[in-house]
Amino acid sequence: MKRTVTKWGSYIIAGSGLLISLAPLYWLLTISLKTEIDQFASPPLWFHFTPTFVHFQEAFGVNEFGKYLFNSCLVATSSTLIALVLGIPAAYSLTRLKWPKNQAEKIGFWILSNRFLPPIITIVPLFLMMRNLGLLDSPVALIIVYVGFNLPFVIWMMQTFIREIPPELDEAARVDGDSYFGALIRIILPLASPGIAATAIFCLIIAWNEFLLALVLTQTESSMTLPIGIASQVTQYEIRWGIMSAAGVVATVPVLIFSLFVQKYLVRGLSMGAVKG
C-alpha cells in the first residue's frame, strides 16, 4: 500500500515537473501554428484551432531564416569542434605532464578565470578588433569569439574527465611504444568519449543560444544567427509572433536531435566518477 503511494507520488512530482518545463514549448509550437487571430484569442485556444504553416513559409520563404539557421549551424558546430580540438590536448597536458610545482593548477585556474569576466565588458574591444581585421559581419568573427569563450570550459571539464582515467593506462601505452600524443588518441580519447560528448553539447548550446556578442558582431543576414534573426522580428511597428515562434521551433530542433543522439554518452558523462564503471 505504502509503496503504491510512493510510486504514484513520484509519478505526480515528475509529471508536474515535465508539464512545467514543456508548457512553454507547447505554447511556442501552437503559436507558430495559429493564425494571427487565434494567437490573441481570449480565453486562449489550447487545443481547438486550425493549424497553419503560413508563419513557417513566411520565415523561411520570405524572410532570411534559412540563412540564419545555416549561420547558426556553421558557427555553433565549428566553434565547438575547434574548442574541442584545442581544449582536449590542453586538458591532457595539464593533467598528465609533469609541471614544476603546481604550475598546472595555476594555469588551469588562470584559464578558467577568463570566464570570471562578464562578456559584456569585452564587447567594445572585440568590435574594434573585428573591425580592424575586416571580420565584422562575418561568421568567422563569431567562430573565433565562441572558441575563446568555450575553450576554458572545455579545458576545465575535460581535465576532470581525464583525471578519472587511471594514469597507468597511458603510462602502459607509452611503455608499449606509443608517444604522448598517440596515447591521447588511442587510449584517452576513446575512454573519455562520454566526457567529450557532454562537453560538446555544452559548448554547442552556449554557441547556439548566444545573443549579446552576435548582436554586436553581425549586421546583415550574411552572418546573423537565429537568436538575432528572431529578435529582429520585434520591430518598431509590430511584433511578429508567428514568425518568431516558427523560427523558435526550428531553432529547437537541431539541438534536440543532437542531444538525443549523444544522450547515452551524456548520462554516463555527467555521472562519471560517481560510480566506478
Binding site: E168, E171, A172, A173, R174, V175, D176, G177, R186, I187
Partner: protein, 362 residues
C-alpha cells in the same frame, strides 16, 4: 655480462628522497626482485627504469645503450602494472597486439605473434572478450601476454600479483617462474612480499628509505643479512631478537638470558662489545628441551600455534618482545609452562643495537 645497469640513481619528490644513490647491475637473463616495505622507493626505481619518472641524477644502460634520456617508448622495455592497466575499450586480442600495432608490424606477423603468446598463456579462447569480462587471474595473464608479445630487452613488473587472492597468487608465482625459465629474459620485479621475493628471485635487492641495503641471492640474504632490518624483513615468521648488554657471556634480562658463545664473541672487535647488542636468530635455529640441560636457558611459553606438520611456540621474551620457535608437530608444551632453549650458535647473528649493523663475519 651486465645487461641492465643502474648507476648512482637519485630521485626526490620535493623534500622526500625516494631513491637515494642506488646502483644495481643486473646480469643478462637474471630475475631481480626489489623488495622492501611501502614507501621504500622500489616502485619509483622501477618507474625510473621504465622512463615514467625522470631521474634527478644517475645513468641507466640497457645492453650497450644508454637509455637515461630516452622516452619510455624507445627503451624497448615491457612493464606489467599492479592494476594490470589493460585498455578497457579493447578486446583481449587488441590489448595484446597493441605494442605490435604501434610498431606498425605487418598484419600477418601480428596474428602469428598474438596467437603464440595467447597459446602459451592459455588465452586463446578469451581473445574476443573485453577486460571487464575476465577474472583477476585472466587479466593478469593478458597483461603478461601484452608484455611478452614483442620480446622486449627486459621485463619490469610492479607488484603484479598483489591484486590476486592468496591461492591464485601462489599459482601465478609458479607460472611466472616457469615463464622466466623458458624466456630467460632480464626481469626486474617489485614486491613487498618477502615470500614472493625468496621464491622468484635469483638475486634480491632489499630496499629501505630509498637505499639498497643488500643485493644478494635469496639464500645469502636469509642466512647472512647485513643488518637488523634485512634480518627482520626477510623470513616468515620473522627473526627473533634479544637486546641487551653482554654480561659474562650472556645477553638478555631477567625474563630470558641467552648464552653467546666465545666463538661468536671472538669474531667481534672489542669495541663492539661495550655498546648495546642485539642477538638475532631464526625460529628454526633454536633447540628446545622440556627439562633443564647444560647450556640451555629457561623460558616461559606464551602460547603455542599448531600447524599440523610443525608448531610455533611463542615465548615470553620480556616486555613486548616475543620469540618464536619452530618445532616439529609432535613437540607439545602447555601454555605458561617453562621450557629450556639454546640458540644454534652457528646460525645466530649479533647486531649493533644502535646502528642495526651485523657485527663480525659469518
Amino acid at each position: 655480462m651486465k645487461h641492465l645497469d643502474l648507476i648512482k640513481m637519485n630521485k626526490s619528490f620535493g623534500t622526500f628522497h625516494a631513491v637515494n644513490d642506488v646502483s644495481l647491475a643486473v646480469e643478462k637473463g637474471e630475475f631481480i626482485v626489489l623488495l622492501g616495505p611501502s614507501g621504500c622507493g622500489k616502485s619509483t626505481l622501477l618507474r625510473l627504469v621504465a622512463g615514467l619518472e625522470t631521474a634527478d641524477s644517475g645513468r641507466i644502460t640497457l645492453g650497450e645503450k644508454d637509455i637515461t634520456d630516452l622516452e619510455s617508448a624507445k627503451r624497448d622495455l615491457a612493464m606489467v602494472f599492479q592494476s594490470y592497466a589493460l585498455y578497457p575499450h579493447m578486446t583481449v586480442k587488441k590489448n595484446i597486439s597493441y605494442p605490435l600495432q604501434i610498431r606498425k608490424r605487418p598484419v600477418h606477423e601480428i596474428e602469428i605473434e598474438v596467437a603464440r603468446v595467447a597459446e602459451k598463456l592459455g588465452l586463446t579462447d578469451l581473445l574476443t572478450r573485453r577486460p571487464k569480462e575476465l577474472s583477476g587471474g585472466q587479466r593478469q595473464r593478458v597483461a603478461l601476454a601484452r608484455a611478452m608479445v614483442r620480446r622486449p630487452e627486459a621485463f619490469l613488473m610492479d607488484e603484479p600479483l598483489s591484486n590476486l587472492d592468496a591461492g591464485l597468487r601462489v599459482q601465478m608465482r609458479a607460472e611466472l617462474k616457469h615463464l622466466h625459465r623458458e624466456l630467460g629474459a632480464t626481469s626486474l620485479y617489485v614486491t613487498h612480499d618477502q615470500v614472493e621475493a625468496m621464491t622468484l628471485a635469483q638475486r634480491i635487492a632489499v630496499m629501505k628509505d630509498g637505499k639498497v641495503l643488500q643485493f644478494d641471492t635469496p639464500k645469502n640474504i636469509y642466512n647472512c643479512p647485513v643488518n637488523k632490518f634485512v634480518a627482520h624483513f626477510v623470513g616468515s615468521p620473522s627473526m627473533n631478537f634479544i637486546e641487551g648488554t653482554l654480561d659474562e657471556g650472556f645477553i638478555g634480562d631477567f625474563n630470558l638470558r641467552l648464552k653467546v658463545s666465545e666463538r661468536k664473541l671472538n669474531q667481534i672487535s672489542t669495541g663492539g662489545l661495550e655498546s648495546k647488542l642485539t642477538l638475532g636468530f631464526r625460529p628454526e635455529d633454536i633447540r628446545v628441551s622440556k627439562v633443564a640441560k647444560a647450556g640451555f636457558s629457561p623460558a616461559r611459553v606464551f602460547i603455542t600455534e599448531e600447524l599440523g606438520n610443525e608448531n610455533f611456540i611463542i615465548l615470553d621474551g620480556g616486555g613486548e618482545n616475543r620469540l618464536t620457535v619452530r618445532t616439529p608437530g609432535d613437540f607439545k608444551v602447555a601454555d605458561d609452562s617453562q621450557i629450556w632453549i639454546a640458540v644454534d650458535d652457528e646460525r645466530a647473528h649479533l647486531f649493533d643495537s644502535k646502528s642495526g649493523a651485523r657485527l663480525g663475519s659469518h
